[in-house]
Amino acid sequence: MNLSLLSVAAAAAVAMVGFTSAANAHGPTRQKVSETIEINAPADKVWAVVSNFQDGGWIPIVAKTEGTGGNAPGAKRTLTLKNGATVDEEVAKLEPEKMTLMYRIDKVDVKVLPVNNYSSWLIVTPEDGGKSKVEWRGAFYRGYENNDPPPELSDEAAIKAVTGLYKMGLDGLKKKIEGTN
């Protein structure tokens, strides 16, 4: 998953030299992605990991997390990925009673993740038998701001990249938490 995400990114980089993402530029159709996983651990334990905004280490491609403000709204972090790329993110909303963290990407190169105006939600729900369910939801526009995008910056490419990220991330979360049981 890691490699395929990076190879997609590399293809985009070749095609789109000089293209940078503008924070407010997007087309008319926002996309939605949702992935879930069941984890064999109580919800409060899972929430403790998921809500720690200053450690994105459960996402396998993340090498380093640096930030400020804990997980309160407005808290910032910069994720450095294993390939050296960085992603700047910010907490939008924290609802401990609903075990929901909402955050946004402030800055990412479309060569790294082919999206604009990205926000996401991590939601932990208790399940029977001391298990829990984690849902990772995302809302974003494709990487290309004009009509008729090149394939690597299309809606499909954005959905594929985010879906891949979520699957990989949730697998990583499950391994990390169940491995420390």
């Binding site: 407010n24 159709t29 926002r30 909303k93 809302a139 009509n147 809606d155």
Partner: protein
């Protein structure tokens, strides 16, 4: 006033009157020919759906499939038709609103998003996000009647109640365009805040309220003078505006709130929590309620404009957007 025939028996006068009153009350509740309730026509973008919500029962009474991520909506003031934009299909779909039937799909090209309909019922005006123009489409035939250039990336559209003036919010030019509908010419521009998106005109046709997504404020424009009357701060990333009871209500996308402010004093009255990504918003004809589509939460929230509280959340198909005048009068 109440006339009900029921068998007369010998009974005490007082008891008879009571019985008459009770029967009249029951008749009024269950059997009187009620006026049909107004409806909300809600586009759900990822679901490719147009849902019709009965605003009295708060239930979805009909659902049409509209392909290619339907976003913008305009219902004609007479309630006869609904016009829906599908940006991914570069199309406008014309719907027979009463029959719940698709009449035709018109290829308009470009990036159709905002849509508004002339008070007479035709034409429908479609904002073309990519080609920076407004396209006029004849409602009866689907023929393209004309085009007019705007600023960059026109998004929201609104008309004055007399139909003489069309306003487009030109998102990437930080201005609104004023368009004369008779000649289909752009006659003026007025500067707004940063990234204007939704625009709403009051019942008097005197003011336009423009939601500026990037500067998180509302520009209030005097349409006759073509000047800015006020700039009002609201919640983060306002998307669109509705007007009711002397208040303006804004959907604050990033704050997940509806901000209400007084249109006379521009003083903030309330910040009302709704579902994430509130987008389309419209006010009931009598001003008693406003309705808010929340794209991420998949809800249509009903806000009581007297108490400024959410009184109902109606579940919607995935990704309700309803950008435009989505309420239909049914009587």
């Amino acid at each position: 006033m109440c006339r009900i025939a029921y068998p007369r028996k010998a009974e005490p006068a007082a008891k008879g009157r009571l019985r008459h009153v009770a029967l009249c009350a029951i008749f009024a509740l269950c059997c009187a020919p009620l006026a049909r309730a107004d409806e909300a026509f809600i586009t759900s973008q990822p679901a490719d759906a147009l849902s019709i919500v009965d605003l009295k029962t708060r239930a979805i009474v009909s659902r049409l499939t509209i392909p290619d991520k339907p976003a913008g909506i305009a219902v004609s003031p007479d309630g006869r038709r609904a016009f829906v934009t599908s940006p991914d299909g570069k199309a406008l779909t014309i719907v027979d609103a009463a029959a719940r039937r698709i009449e035709r799909r018109v290829d308009v090209g470009g990036g159709p998003l905002g849509v508004a309909v002339h008070p007479s019922g035709s034409p429908a005006y479609v904002a073309d996000w990519y080609e920076h123009q407004v396209i006029a489409v004849e409602a009866d035939t689907g023929a393209i009647a004309g085009k007019v250039k705007t600023g960059n990336s026109p998004s929201g559209l609104a008309l004055t109640p007399d139909g003489a003036l069309l306003v487009s919010a030109d998102r990437d030019s930080d201005e609104i365009s004023l368009i004369d509908t008779k000649t289909l010419t752009r006659i003026a521009t007025v500067p707004t805040g940063h990234k204007p998106f939704g625009v709403t005109i009051d019942d008097a046709g005197a003011r336009a309220y423009v939601a500026n997504v990037a500067s998180s404020d509302i520009t209030v424009v005097d349409l006759a003078a073509r000047t800015v009357l006020a700039t009002v701060k609201v919640g983060e990333r306002p998307y669109a505006v509705a007007l009711a009871r002397g208040l303006a209500f804004t959907t604050d996308q990033y704050a997940s709130t509806v901000t209400a402010f007084d249109t006379a004093t521009f003083e903030k009255k309330a910040s009302i929590a709704v579902g994430d990504y509130p987008e389309g918003i419209a006010a009931a004809r009598d001003g008693s309620e406003v309705y808010v589509a929340s794209w991420e939460a998949n809800t249509l929230s009903v806000i009581d404009t007297a108490t400024l509280k959410v009184v109902k959340e109606i579940a919607m198909p995935d990704g309700p957007r309803a950008f435009g005048s989505f309420l239909r009068r049914a009587d």
